[in-house]
């Protein structure tokens, strides 16, 4: 039976701004509240529950209240109204490397950061080797962190931060740390926490990560909950909203978009057929709409594995195709006659460029799905490579 790990009820956070600091003093002395203050509702009556072992993703635009919510839950900020009930210990990864001192070595910064997380010396001594090896900074650990590159700095900070063992973990957009290799490790670590049945609150702008990791998603807009529930549904609503807003905002006059598929929701590029017998042709049909204004376009298509590895990408520009006109509507096809992809799930991204191939009018990332269930090729990895053995 799932039990509530976090119960948030009517949570409201109001920040007050004063035009001048003296106004705060006058209010304090005269006991006349509301004389000068300007209230700002960072969160407005937010109510939701998080269940044990659940990963809840939090999405929303900048300033929607995501970080405020996470700070309230990790209790670094006190609510104005409303309550948060929690069972268990909380650890928060809100900002990385806070409290690190550039003059100290990586090792001594680990000690400091770990004691901020509440570890005693003995526990840190036990964990320090794991932390160092996770950060992959063995060669640099006894040098001052001011000599580190910014990536190394963040790796060290992240490694300390994830060495915790809380019941509830609050993570604010810190997965985008370091290079691809380290990002993967961070992601694996998150999935590890998930497997250990930790309750996780996870805020990210990477919808892809949210979709892959989270059990439920909460969408915040201007301090209020717009939707909460199944990741696919909520993310779709959110991306629809985002696109609508962007198209309204930037190009009201140029109605250029890659049309939505009518039978696969929010998919802009889709697969017409994948023949699984002899010929494994993949055809992507893209519909482009434009008002009759004489503009010319280039189109790019990329295929990504579901872990975001770019398998192949090309464009009409790269292939030397002349930029094309679109008057009204146009269907464009790209034929991958014999794709050498190995089995797995792949996604298709399409990008609509201007005639120089630089300015992006519209893009749809990783939407159309290709599933290659079984293929004649043996071997592992991304692609089949023509080969022979000599034994």
């Amino acid at each position: 039976m799932e039990k509530n790990k976090i119960k948030v009820k009517d949570l409201t956070k109001i920040y007050y701004f004063y035009d001048r600091p003296i106004h705060r003093l006058i209010e304090l002395i005269t006991f006349k509240k509301k004389l000068y203050r300007h209230p700002f509702f960072a969160l407005n009556k937010v109510t939701f529950d998080v269940y044990e072992g659940e990963t809840l993703g939090i999405i929303g635009e900048n300033g929607a209240g995501k970080s405020t919510l996470l700070k309230l839950i990790s209790r670094t900020v006190a609510p104005s109204y409303g309550t948060i009930e929690m069972n268990g210990t909380v650890s928060a990864l809100l900002e990385l490397g806070v409290g690190f001192h550039p003059d100290f070595t990586g090792r001594s910064n680990i000690y400091l950061a770990a004691s901020m997380l509440g570890f005693d010396k003995k526990t840190i001594d036990e964990k320090i080797n794991d932390i160092i090896s996770f950060s992959e900074l063995e060669d640099f650990i006894d040098r001052p962190v001011k000599t580190y590159s910014s990536g190394m700095y963040l790796r060290l900070a992240f490694s300390v931060a994830v060495s915790v063992d809380p019941d509830i973990l609050v993570v604010d957009e810190v997965l985008a740390v370091g290079d691809q290799h380290f990002q993967k490790k961070c992601l694996d670590r998150m999935i590890g926490f998930k497997k250990e049945k930790k309750t996780i609150l996870f805020c990210s702008h990477s919808l892809y990560h949210i979709r892959e990791i989270c059990d439920r998603v909460l969408w915040l807009k201007q301090g209020k909950i717009m939707a909460i529930g199944d990741p696919k549904t909520v993310i779709r609503e959110y991306t629809d909203y985002e696109r609508e807003k962007n198209s309204k905002k930037s190009k009201q006059e140029t109605k250029i978009y890659i049309e939505k598929n009518s039978f696969l929701d929010s998919v802009s590029a889709w697969i017409l057929n994948i023949e699984k017998e002899e010929k494994k042709e993949i055809v992507v049909k893209i519909k482009v709409k434009n008002q009759n204004n004489g503009r010319r376009f280039h189109l790019g298509v990329g295929i990504y594995r579901n872990d975001l590895v770019e398998c192949f990408a090309t464009s009409t520009k790269l292939d030397g195709v002349e930029p094309f006109f679109v008057d009204g509507e146009k269907d464009i096809f790209i034929y991958f006659d014999s794709p050498l992809l190995l089995e797995g799930r792949y996604k298709v991204a399409v990008v609509l460029f201007d005639e120089t191939g630089l300015h992006v009018y519209d893009r749809k990332d990783q939407e159309g799905e290709i599933e290659i269930e079984s293929c004649e090729f043996t071997g592992r990895g991304l692609f089949f490579m023509e080969h022979r053995w000599k034994v």
Partner: protein, 262 residues
């Protein structure tokens, strides 16, 4: 006394912060922690010359000379002054810690107070070594009583530090004000002059100043080898305990709003 409980539960963090702060004083400098005592010693030399050769201060009937008198009061004052000034700014300075880490903000002030004791400790050690070298070996048993004034100094400084750092988070003017007030405070403490030289109608400032009784306590232990328990000692102890309790209370009230204002 929730802030004090936090100190105990986070003592590892407290000691790490103290160690870091002490280490910061000498990382990157060639002669290391010697710098922590060079500035005060420099001031001490100036005061010694000023008040023994130019303005001749008479101490009255006491078994020690002016330089000894000065040194004994100066080290605790320097520690107190430094701890107060640095504590006042501590919440503002560590805003990022308070906002983005689950961090017990009440620990900042005591960590600075303890770190300031390091300087006082080194100063006392030097002073006692010099005394011994001059053939004035202090009463070693009496030195064992030093933790008593040090403890009172600790709780007084911490209580005051909590109050000032909390207020400073809301009104940055506090820090400027304290910088000015501390100069006044130095001169109403009998450090460079003995109390009896102060005219009757000014003496009230000296008497109500708890730091007066604090330096007297240090002097009686180190220079006279005994613990003078008089009404001043009792006053100092009560004030210290009062500020500890008040500081704890005020800080607890203010700290929930820190993240909103810094």
């Amino acid at each position: 006394m929730s802030s004090i409980r936090t100190l105990f539960s986070h003592r590892n963090l407290l000691f790490t912060l103290v160690k870091r702060d002490i280490a910061l004083r000498y990382t990157g400098s060639a002669i290391g922690f010697v710098w922590t005592v060079i500035n005060p010693i420099f001031l001490l030399i100036i005061y010694s010359v000023l008040f023994t050769s130019i303005i001749r201060v008479k101490l009255g009937e006491v078994p020690y000379n002016f330089v000894e008198f000065l040194f004994c009061g100066f080290w605790p004052w320097i520690a107190f002054q430094e701890a107060i000034i640095r504590s006042t700014n501590s919440i503002v300075e560590n805003g990022n810690l308070i906002k983005s880490v689950i961090f017990p903000s009440e620990i900042l002030t005591p960590s600075l107070v303890l770190s300031s004791f390091f300087q006082q400790f080194i100063g006392f050690l030097l002073f006692i070594a010099v005394l011994a070298f001059m053939g004035r070996i202090p009463n070693l048993l009496a030195l064992l009583l030093l933790p008593i004034p040090m403890f009172l100094q600790f709780i007084l400084t911490m209580g005051l530090g909590w109050i000032l750092s909390g207020i400073n988070a809301f009104f940055r003017d506090t820090f400027q004000l304290i910088n000015a007030a501390i100069i006044f405070w130095f001169f109403v403490t009998p450090i460079v002059y003995p109390e009896y030289l102060v005219p009757e109608h000014f003496r009230i400032f000296i008497t109500i100043n708890p730091i007066t009784h604090m330096v007297e306590l240090y002097r009686s232990i180190i220079l006279e080898g005994k613990l003078n328990i008089n009404w001043g000692t009792i006053y100092f102890s009560s004030i210290s305990i009062f500020f500890l309790i008040l500081g704890d209370f005020v800080f607890k009230k203010l700290k929930v709003k820190f993240a909103d204002v810094i």
